[in-house]
Amino acid sequence: MIDRGIFEDLQARVDEDAEVRDEIRVIVDTLEKKEKIAQSILAKAHSTPLSQLSSQVLEPAKGAIQQTMASVDDLSAVASAHPYYKWNNMWQRQVQDLVFHILLFGWLGGSIQDGSQPRPGYLLTIDEIGGILKVPVNEKQKDTFHIAIEEYLHALISLLDELARLARNSVTLGDYRRPTHIAQFIKDIHAGFQILNLKNDSLRRRSDGIKYRVKEVEDVVYDLSLRNLIPRDDPTSGQ
C-alpha cells in the first residue's frame, strides 16, 4: 500500500525549490547587468593616464559599484533564507566578478566610503569586502549568505590577470612607475598562494597560472630597467 501523500509531499518540496531557484535567478540577472556597467567603466583604466584616473574611472566606478549593492542586499536576504551551499553555484560567478571589480577599484586607489583617503596599490581584505557589501565573510557556523574564501581568492587571481595587463598598458601610457609596483604586488600575492595546499579544482588550475603573470610583469620591469626608464626615486625599483 503506497501512500500517495508521500509523493505529494515530495512534489511540494520540489516545487518550493523551483520557486527559490527562480527568485534567485532574477536577482542574479539584475546583479550581472549592473556589474557589467562597473566592468566597462573600470576597463578604461587601461587607457586613462594616472592624472585623470580619479575623474574618469574611479568616480564613475564608485557610483556603479554602489548601484550593485542593492542587488547584493536582495541576494543576501533571499539566499540567507535557504541553505547557502544548496544554491551558491547560482551566484558564484557574479559575486566573484563583483569582488574582483571592488578589489581592482580599491587597488587603483578608489574608496567606497566618502572621506577615506585613497591608497593606490592597496589590497582590500576579505573582511573589508564584507564590510563594503555588508555581508558576512568566511562564515563557518551560521548558514547564511556570505563571501567565501574561495570566491575572494578567485577574485584575487582575476585582479592579478588584470594588473599584469595594466603593467604593459601603463608603459604605453608613459607611466613607468606603476609596473614596478604591480610587479612587487603580484610577486607578494604569488608568494601567498604558494603556501596554500590546493586540491585539483578550478582554484588550483587558475592559481597555477599566476607564475605567468609574475613572468609578464618581470619582463616589463626588465624592459624598463634595461632602458633606464624606472624612476630613481622609486623604492621598489630594485636599483
Partner: protein, 263 residues
Amino acid sequence: MTAPTSPYTTMFEGFRAELDEHYDRRERVIKASRDLTSASKRLIFALQRTRSLARPLPSSVTKAAEPHHGATGAAHDALALELSNSLRAHRYAWQVSPGLQEFVEAATFGHYLRHQTLMSFDEVQKLWTETGEQGQGGEGMLQYSDYVLGVFDLTGEMMRWAVLMVAVWGSAPSRDADEGAPEGLRDVLRDMRDMRAALEALDVPRGTPLASEIGKKTDVMKQSVEKVENATYGLVVRGRERPEGWMPDSGGSAEGRMEVDSY
C-alpha cells in the same frame, strides 16, 4: 633559498588553515560515506533473505543484520560529528549523498518487508537521526533528494525479492507448502506499479542535478517493474494448466494426468 615572504603571508596562512580544514573534513566525510554505503548494502543483503511480508522480520534476519546496524551507526556518528551544522551539511552534501541514498534504500526496504508500506521521508529522516550509537544527531543532513533517489533504487531490491518469491512460492504450489505462502504477494506488483506511477509523475525542473540523477535511474526502475510483471505473467499462464479441483498437497490425481494429456 626559499620564496620571499610577503606582506600577505599572515593573510594566506589564515586561508591555508581554513582550506586545509575544509579539505581534511571533506576527506573524512567521503570516508564515512563509503562506510555508510558498505554497511547499508550488507544490510540489504541480509534483508533479502526474508521470506515473509508484512510481518516482523524473522530473528535469523535481524540477527544477521545486527552488525551492519552497528556499522551504520558508527558511520552516522562520524558524519554527524563532521556535519554538525546546516552550513556544513549542505557543503558536503554531494560527498555524503551516495551513502545516504544507500541508507534510504536499506531503511525503506526493511520497512516495506515489515509493513508492506512505503516509509515516508519524515520517517526515514527520523530513523536517520536515531541511527547513531551516541544519542541523536544528523538532523537536516538527509535531503529529500537523497530520499527520492534511494526510493528509485528500492524498486530494484523489491524486484529481486519479488521475483524470487514468485519462483519459490508461485510456481511450486505443492512444495514447502507447510511454510505457508505470504499473503498479498501479488500486491507487491500493485505497489511497485503505484510507485512507478508516482515516481514518473514527479515533476522535477529540467537542468537541475536531481532531474539528471532521476534521468539516470528511471529506466532501471521501469525495468524492475516489468521484470515483476513478467514473473507474474508466467505464474498466471502456468497456473491455468492446473486442473479443476487440483490441490497442491493432494499430489495430483489420475484425472489430473489425463486432463493434461487432453489439453
